[in-house]
């Protein structure tokens, strides 16, 4: 079976600064993969390239056998790649339900959009259930807490049934309880999705990760289970050993 996501020989340069250098990266269907590395390692840049926000200088990104290079962002989403951002963006003036409905309807044609929403589709109901915001369904998203906003964002991804989910620091700024709930939510989503998570939080990583990829200064440093990565002296030197005890 071929990989779901294949990145080959990727180079990204921002006005002279090499954000990513000769990166090869492979993700199999069904994986839950963590992407870690110190600041400036190129984690978010990699996600930006996959989703079409940043154009690479060279190299290829193939998703399910399809080349994503040069595609517009919304077409990449329609191909089945969904992402969240570090700062959660939900639509404050719309209700929680309408936020989910908006996300669910991304394949609707213009004529379908001209109708009002009546009732709740099964997909939306199940996403609402997954993220546990049923009680707040009719409240405007503006009243949600930071954690709830992130869950709503994840719900908005899930309801689109993407083949690959990219989560950019989903637990940043969250309380301990919120982190745990996010981790559980992520694991339940990972049961039937391929998920790539960028994360800084080491406790979160130890608790919820199985395979980890470490980036350092735009290059791939190593890849393996949490234990293998923790044992790798290079990783300890550039990242873990310096700042945090593993």
């Amino acid at each position: 079976m071929s990989a779901l996501l294949e990145v080959r020989g990727l180079n990204v340069v921002f006005s002279g600064f090499h954000a990513i250098t000769d990166l090869d990266f492979t993700l199999q269907a069904g994986e839950l993969r963590f992407l870690i590395g110190p600041n400036g390692a190129g984690k978010t840049t990699l996600i930006d390239v996959i989703t079409g926000l940043t154009k690479p200088a060279s190299g290829s990104v193939r998703f399910a056998g399809e080349d994503l290079a040069g595609k517009r962002e919304y077409k990449i989403v329609r191909a089945g790649v969904g992402r969240t951002f570090q700062t959660s963006v939900v639509f404050d003036e719309l209700s929680v339900l309408d936020n989910l409905d908006l996300a669910a309807g991304f394949r609707r044609r213009m004529t379908g959009l001209l109708r009002r929403r009546h009732g709740i589709s099964d997909d939306v109901a199940s996403a609402l259930d997954t993220i546990g915001l049923g009680d707040l369904a009719d409240r405007p998203a503006g009243v949600l807490s930071h954690g709830q906003r992130q869950w709503l964002e994840i719900g908005m991804l899930v309801v689109q049934r993407p083949r690959l989910l990219l989560l950019d620091e989903p637990v940043a700024g969250m309380s301990r309880d919120e982190r745990d709930r996010t981790g559980e939510l992520m694991q339940s989503v990972a049961k039937d999705h391929t998920v790539l998570v960028v994360e800084h939080d080491m406790a979160f990583l130890r608790r919820f990760a199985s395979t980890v990829t470490v980036l350092h200064e735009g290059r791939l440093l190593c890849e393996g289970t949490v234990a293998e990565v923790q044992a790798d002296p290079r990783v300890q030197e550039v990242y873990l050993g310096r700042k945090e005890r593993v």
Binding site: T51, R72, E73, Y74, V77, R78, G82, R83, F85, V89, V90, F91, D92, E93, L94, D98, D101, L102, A103, G105, F106, R107, R108, M110, G112, L113, L114, R115, R116, R117, M156, Q160
Partner: protein, 324 residues
Amino acid sequence: MLSPFRLDLLGKYLCYAIVAVGISLAWGRGGMLTLGQGVFFGLGGYAMGMHLKLQDGELPDFMSWSGVEELPLLWKPFANPVFALAMVIVLPVLVATLLGLLVFRQRVRGAYFAVLSQALAAAFVILLIGQQGLTGGTNGLTNFQYFFGLDLYEDADRRILYLVTALILGASYLSVRQLVRSRYGQLLVAIRDGEDRVRFLGYDPALVKTVAFAVSAGLAGIAGALFVPLVGLLSPANLGIVASLELLVGVAIGGRYSLAGAVAGALLFNYAKTIFSEQWPDGWLYVQGALFVAVMVWAPRGLAGLSHQFRDALSSRRKVEVQA
């Protein structure tokens, strides 16, 4: 009953209110600050004016004054009423669609879009004035006798015309209200508040915005077409930068987020303009400026948004009390 003179003015306000419905959609919901609605108002108006000038089968008066002896090719199809009526909507919608796809794809937005739309209004006026023989130049189109069988000098016939205008305003209001409440309306608000996020939900924001912009242009075109028989005159002064701004100011004062606020704002603003200009001709500009500044500073959501603002103020005060 209003005197015929007042009724004339009311008809004009109704036209501006139709434009306001469109501006409320594009600006209030879609976040597109369009300072060039006069262009679309003008396209619809000239399409109608050209037809009305051709109704008696003679060469339009201004052409003979500028030495044009034969009807220009551009004018010929406008003798056909169906063609002219279609152009009233097609021309502004087409221009807005092309412009929208071009600039929204390039992610031109905010102040840049506003400046661009204003430049368009300036360019349109220069074009109209430059083509004296084709457009009537600075004087524009005047002297209309008939409007689809209605005699524009008969009070009874004019009353029918106001009624038609009022009905069209009502229909525009209801259609746009439906649009705003649909999923499309929610999508438009979502794009206003987070265009990039919407892009990553798999929608093409450029397309969604273009539709709203084109609808607002179409409404402005219809309003322009009704303005011509109601006012009996259409000249570049009715659709230049200043005129385009005035179309917007009424909406800002009434409240751009509320469709009803936008309509009421346009009606009140233009009524105030008439009253003030009659009493104190030089003062109006100052009043208009002061009014606009006052609304922007104290009621950024407009008059219709005052209750919303009040509620916000109350709830934030309550929050402070709870914390204290």
